[in-house]
């Protein structure tokens, strides 16, 4: 176990980006409707599927900003 005390690490504000997909998919009021539809798929479905890409991007940005470089 390392013994030296390290300075308290400040949270990188980029981390807040993770809140975005949470709010976007956990509040059905935002997306519970049929139109506009894409290719016959109601808004309710393609909006939530699109946020799969959204969460991947947000998580990737946060990962790059906070990963250990060593």
């Amino acid at each position: 176990m390392t013994d030296h005390t390290r300075p308290r690490r400040r949270r990188n504000p980029v981390v807040l980006l993770l809140l975005l997909p949470l709010v976007a998919v956990l509040v059905p009021e935002i997306y519970n409707r049929a139109s506009p539809s894409i290719g016959g798929m109601p808004f309710f479905y393609w909006y939530q599927l699109a946020w799969v890409g959204g969460v991947a991007v947000c998580a990737a940005i946060v990962y790059r900003a906070t990963r250990s470089t060593r």
Binding site: A34, F44, V52
Partner: protein, 532 residues
């Protein structure tokens, strides 16, 4: 009507199964260690898995065969509510990204192999650790049994009567898991996921093409659901139930022993965090698989199996494949789903067995047990769990297992305060956390008890109707959220009151949770090569 037996389909599925079995036994040579006889090596693959192996392992672990058959069945049976699986598997990654990384660091530093190990070290409480261990095992057992539903649905649709295929599948699984440990499902996950991705990609293009496009599918599905007073959109009172089910399931997912095992088997903290941005690829696949439920409605698929009154809706996806695809391709899809059941079943068996060996057998039965003995106990328990799961499915009703799995998330979320809050703070008193667990678990089980379903008086659903308590509303809430809130309130309120009682000894230090110095695990001779 059950489809007729097809020798071609059967032959392809058996061949795929044979290949996977050989792979399972070969996995023992992969990334070879001096000896597999310990929880570290057998149960955690030596903690050496890199980004891609972890992606396949966790993907195969969390997105189970049950998910592939049950989620479409849910949309088929209940409409829009079933789509909760998508926000659930989106919300999980932002929620657990940092907690999982902290968990990895502290467990790596102290050699913890399970959540209960961590809780004992952090809170200095044997009782709390035991509660966490038991909670995890109880929540996992029905989950293992449920993996068989995937195989059972396939067997039914292939026109085979009897339970012998389930026994053969799980005996083979138990055999190669015994020899190879976590390396077996990690290797098989590659084959399984490549097959599943291939099948899904083709299905979501070919089936809509045959049925006339997504607009026809949604239109017909909506017509079929409206006849049952359901819809492809949520109704107002369903909002709270939908979002709490998604949020709660997301919070619960990484508390399951098999998810913890997947995280701890990685070689470093970056692998864990990186995977939180790579794993959503599975959620996209899951979303499209979910829509297969509407495609089945649009294709007028009639579920088979089960009872005449309540046929087994889990059969709709295999039936859809059978009716829309040529036999040889349907067979590949069946094989993929069946293999998809083996990967999570193996990991769940291993992780629950690790928890038993580490946190129940060693502290309570054999305090002086060697690593070798502990590993052996874990191997034996893992076999018992798998064969027990088949016995449960064959001997009891399938719906029994489904009801239990439903409450699995409600049960497992009760260990969130000692585990997840424990990763961030030492403020909570160990006895307050015990009291919180007792109250939260009691309340949850009571709420599940008073919730009827169409066929049962108790444990009917994990969605609690407020009308049970006399509120004039159709609103429901996911039971686990209420239970864990009660748990948190009790733990928080009692902590200051219990200040006079001795606190547990914390063997961890704040630095253990942060990024460690670049200090790889010491590798023995011959271990350095071949790390992926």
């Amino acid at each position: 009507m059950t489809p007729p037996f097809s020798a071609l389909e059967f032959g392809i599925v058996v061949a795929m199964f044979a290949v996977v079995t050989v792979l399972g036994f070969m996995a023992t040579r992969w990334n070879r260690a001096a000896s597999l006889a310990s929880v570290e090596e057998w149960g955690l693959g030596g903690r050496r898995f890199g980004t891609w192996v972890t992606w396949f392992l966790l993907g195969g672990d969390l997105y189970t065969a049950y998910t592939f058959v049950a989620v479409p069945a849910l949309l088929f049976g209940t409409g829009a509510t079933g789509f909760f699986a998508v926000p659930y598997t989106i919300a999980v990654f932002p929620l657990v990204m940092f907690a999982a990384a902290r968990m990895w660091s502290v467990c790596h530093e102290h050699g913890y192999a399970t959540a209960a190990d961590f809780v004992r070290g952090r809170h200095g409480s044997a009782l709390l650790s035991l509660l966490v261990a038991i909670t995890g095992i109880v929540a996992t057992i029905p989950y293992i049994a449920l993996q068989l539903t995937g195989i059972k649905a396939i067997v039914e649709v292939m026109g085979i009567g009897g339970d012998w295929p389930l026994w053969i599948a799980f005996i083979a699984l138990a055999a190669y898991t015994w020899t190879s440990g976590l390396r077996a499902p990690a290797l098989i996950a590659f084959v399984k996921d490549i097959l599943i991705y291939l099948v899904v990609l083709i299905a979501i293009i070919y089936v809509p093409y045959k049925l006339g496009g997504y607009d026809v599918i949604f239109h017909r599905a909506d017509t079929a659901l409206t006849a049952k007073k359901l819809s492809t959109l949520l109704s107002g009172p369903q909002y709270l139930g939908y979002s709490t089910l998604a949020l709660g399931s997301a919070l619960a997912l990484f508390l399951y022993p098999h998810a913890v095992t997947g995280v701890l088997a990685t070689k470093n903290r970056n692998v864990v965090k990186k995977n939180m941005s790579l794993l959503p690829a599975y959620s996209l696949m899951l979303g499209f698989i979910a829509l297969l439920g509407y495609m089945a409605l649009a294709a007028h698929v009639k579920p088979v199996g089960g009872t005449a009154k309540a046929p087994d809706t889990n059969t709709i996806v295999p039936l859809l494949f059978n009716s829309e695809f040529p036999h040889w391709f349907a067979a590949i899809a069946f094989g993929a789903i069946a293999i998809g059941a083996l990967v999570p079943a193996a990991i769940m068996g291993i992780s629950a067995a690790n928890t038993f060996a580490r946190d129940i057998y060693r502290p309570y039965f054999r305090p002086g047990a060697s690593d070798r003995e502990e590993g052996l106990v874990s191997q034996i328990v893992s076999v018992i769990l798998k064969l027990g799961a088949v016995a449960v499915i064959v001997g009891l009703k399938l719906s029994f297992a489904i009801e239990f799995q439903l409450i699995g998330g409600v049960i497992v979320i009760e260990i969130l305060p000692p585990v997840v809050l424990g990763l961030y703070t030492r403020w909570y008193h160990r006895w307050a956390l015990v009291a919180g667990w007792v109250v939260g678990m009691g309340l949850s089980i009571y709420m599940l008890w008073v919730t009827p379903s169409k066929t049962a008086a108790h444990f009917g659903s994990a969605s609690f109707a407020f009308s049970t308590w006399g509120f004039h509303t159709k609103m429901t809430i996911w039971t686990g959220i209420v239970g864990v809130l009660a748990n948190l309130i009790v733990a928080t309120a009692l902590t200051p009151l219990l200040a006079r009682l001795p606190r547990g000894r914390d063997e961890t230090s704040p630095a253990d949770y942060e990024e460690a110095e670049a200090q790889p695990m010491p590798l023995g001779p011959g271990q350095a090569r071949g790390s992926v």
